[in-house]
């Protein structure tokens, strides 16, 4: 798994390439925590176009990040997820907590949407 971090306004955009499973979720969690600390931000967008595989560990990790971000008063979203990743999200009924958008711009509109 490879992660790339980019900051836009108050949002950390995390591009994930590779496979998301129990093993790589540990990396995802640690790196995301470090990036939030270093780069700041109160929202997260996971850009998933490069995700070639995801199992339910990915859902667990996303819920974990949702809880972190909620504490900061922010929002979390996923963008560019393929059908398979969206199916796993739908099965676990997570779309109300972590909505999915076809592109980063729409996801940014959602997470940055609320006025302070």
């Amino acid at each position: 798994m490879e992660l790339k971090f980019l900051k836009r306004n108050r949002t950390l955009i995390i591009k994930i390439d590779g496979e998301i499973d129990h093993h790589t979720c540990e990396i995802l969690r640690g790196e995301t925590e470090r990036a939030l600390e270093k780069m700041g931000g109160k929202n997260i967008i996971f850009r998933m176009s490069g995700v070639s595989f995801m199992d339910s560990s990915g859902i667990g990790a996303m819920i974990g990040r949702y809880k972190d971000i909620q504490r900061l008063g922010g929002k979390i979203a996923i963008a560019e997820a393929n059908d398979r990743v969206r199916q796993i999200f739908l099965l676990s009924a997570m779309q109300s907590l972590i909505p999915s958008f076809p592109n980063v711009d729409l996801a940014l509109e959602y997470v940055e949407g609320g006025k302070e």
Binding site: D21, H22, R29, D55, S56, I59, I63, I88, L91
Partner: protein, 142 residues
């Protein structure tokens, strides 16, 4: 059962071997001209079962995970087994969103995903002795 082809492997209960289990399964399957979606379904189910063995069976301590793949007459048969803790209440474990380990960021969706992506699933488990999961799926092409 007699299989036209089969393999059985044992590997260390380490999280990096989750990918190995998926790759071995996909390589075995590829001989039978499955669709991309069938490969992903079966890989995902195997990943869930192997992850359960590592996290719940062995509680991330050392152990050995067994993976079996069999092919017979257009059907794929999978077994994933551990000799770990076992499951106290199988029905509860299979409920969507139930997890015994929320502190480890588990979603509780493992069994639901196995049931969704495979056609048949059977769980044998005994506390203190381990768990064996049987799964089956028909391939659309032979």
């Amino acid at each position: 059962m007699e299989y036209q082809n089969e393999f059985r492997v044992f590997f260390a209960a380490k999280s990096q071997n989750e990918a190995l289990a998926r790759i071995m399964t996909a390589a075995f399957l590829s001989q039978y001209d499955p669709t991309l979606s069938e490969i992903t379904d079966i890989k995902t189910a195997v990943s869930e079962a192997v992850t359960n063995a590592i996290i719940h069976g062995y509680e991330e301590k050392s152990g050995e995970v067994e993976l079996f793949c069999g092919y017979n007459d257009g059907r794929i048969y999978i077994e994933v087994a551990d000799q770990g803790a076992g499951i106290a209440d199988i029905n509860q474990a299979r409920e969507p969103l139930f997890t015994s380990k929320p502190e480890l960021e588990r979603s509780g969706m493992g069994f639901t995903i196995m049931e969704t992506f495979m056609e048949e699933i059977r769980v044998e488990s005994k506390e203190g002795e381990g768990t064996r999961i049987y799964m089956e799926k028909a391939l659309t092409t032979e």
